[in-house]
């Protein structure tokens, strides 16, 4: 080790906290090198001098007061921690369904949903008003109705099925009536 390395080691060993890795080499060097020896003494005196400087003692009364203040603060902390740990039944019932704010929110949400549904279905055909396209029965009934009552009567008396009854109806119709019904059906297709 050279002198600079030895002087660094002197600083490292100044407080006696860390054990020097190579104490023999350092002591041999210091014993043989006058400059390093002087530096070692100077640093030891300096270290002793600054270490002797004590911080100002505020006195026993300060520490008694300090201890009391900290104890009081710690008790308050403990109380808060205990409160935080304790289960709060009242609070549990209040949340979330019974809180006024939650109820208000739900009411507002329902209102918005209803308005949205109303607006949506308003434009849906056949929901708010009758469909613009009439059904086949509606188209046929004005022409067929004069013959439906006697037909119903005939069907009930003859015990006919629906298809047989319809066939009878068409047999009873004249050509004009059949043509009129076909036109109505075609108009319905176009719509």
């Amino acid at each position: 080790m050279n002198c600079q390395e030895i002087r660094d080691k002197i600083l490292d060993n100044l407080t006696g906290t860390d054990n020097p890795s190579d104490p023999k080499e350092i002591s041999v060097h210091i014993a043989s090198c006058a400059d390093c020896h002087a530096e070692d003494i100077a640093w030891r005196k300096f270290s002793f001098g600054i270490k002797r400087v004590k911080a100002k003692d505020p006195g026993e009364a300060f520490f008694q007061d300090f201890s009391a203040r900290v104890s009081q603060a710690v008790k308050l902390e403990q109380e808060q921690m205990d409160l935080a740990r304790r289960p709060r039944r009242a609070a549990r019932f209040r949340l979330p369904f019974f809180s006024p704010s939650f109820q208000m929110g739900m009411a507002a949400g329902c209102a918005v949903l209803m308005i949205a549904m109303a607006l949506f279905f308003k434009n849906q055909e056949g929901f708010w008003m009758q469909s613009a396209r009439p059904g086949e029965t509606q188209l046929v009934s004005p022409i067929a109705s004069p013959r439906v009552s006697p037909l119903k009567q005939a069907v009930s008396q003859a015990n006919l099925s629906d298809s047989e009854a319809i066939a009878v109806l068409f047999d009873l119709m004249d050509d004009n009536e059949e043509e009129e019904i076909s036109d109505h059906l075609m108009m319905a297709e176009d719509i």
Binding site: L14, T17, K51, P58, S67, S71, Q78
Partner: protein
């Protein structure tokens, strides 16, 4: 002994924690005072150290030393305070006035020809890392490993900070304490 008190404190026994405060209040206060050089601030920071320690007592690992853990909290609070000071541009002037006023107290007149005052002032003028490292090494007799752990740096950095710090201090104090 500490561990027993800690376990009792964790169960809600505040008296047990008060016993820990009694044991460590002096070393914590004096270390903080050396770092901040202001009695009021040191008292506040020391108090906050114990309150913070109580709050996070459950996080304390029993394999570590309680004293070291307390120092860790105190040092972090001191660093925050130093940063806070740096944000206040007029603080240096205020500190100088306070120190000048303190210099005239009877305590200082008997303070070994005012050497203590000069040393404290010179230590305060060191950069933060050098100052903290020097205080922990000289006054608390910490190893480089412990300082590195406390300040969150490498051991070599702690060593370099100590070397720079003590050399700067010696330069600042001139021939003081030298043969």
């Amino acid at each position: 002994m500490d561990q027993v008190l800690i376990e009792r404190a964790l169960k809600g026994d505040t008296e047990a924690f008060s016993a820990l405060v009694e044991t460590y209040q002096r070393p914590i206060y004096f270390t903080v005072l050396r770092m901040l050089s202001d009695h009021e601030e040191a008292a506040d920071i020391a108090q906050q150290t114990f309150i913070n320690a109580f709050r996070s007592l459950a996080d304390f690992r029993s394999d570590a030393s309680f004293k070291t853990w307390l120092y860790q909290i105190a040092i972090n609070l001191c660093r925050n305070k130093i940063k806070e000071r740096a944000r206040q541009p007029d603080f240096e002037d205020i500190e100088e006035i306070e120190i000048a006023a303190n210099q005239k107290t009877p305590f200082d007149k008997i303070d070994d020809e005012n050497r203590g005052y000069r040393v404290r002032q010179a230590i305060q003028k060191l950069p933060e890392q050098q100052r903290m490292t020097l205080i922990l090494r000289v006054y608390e007799e910490y190893s480089y490993e412990q300082i590195a752990s406390q300040l969150g740096c490498a051991q070599e950095t702690a060593r370099a900070n100590f070397h720079h710090g003590i050399r700067n201090l010696r330069k600042a104090l001139g021939g003081e304490f030298l043969p």
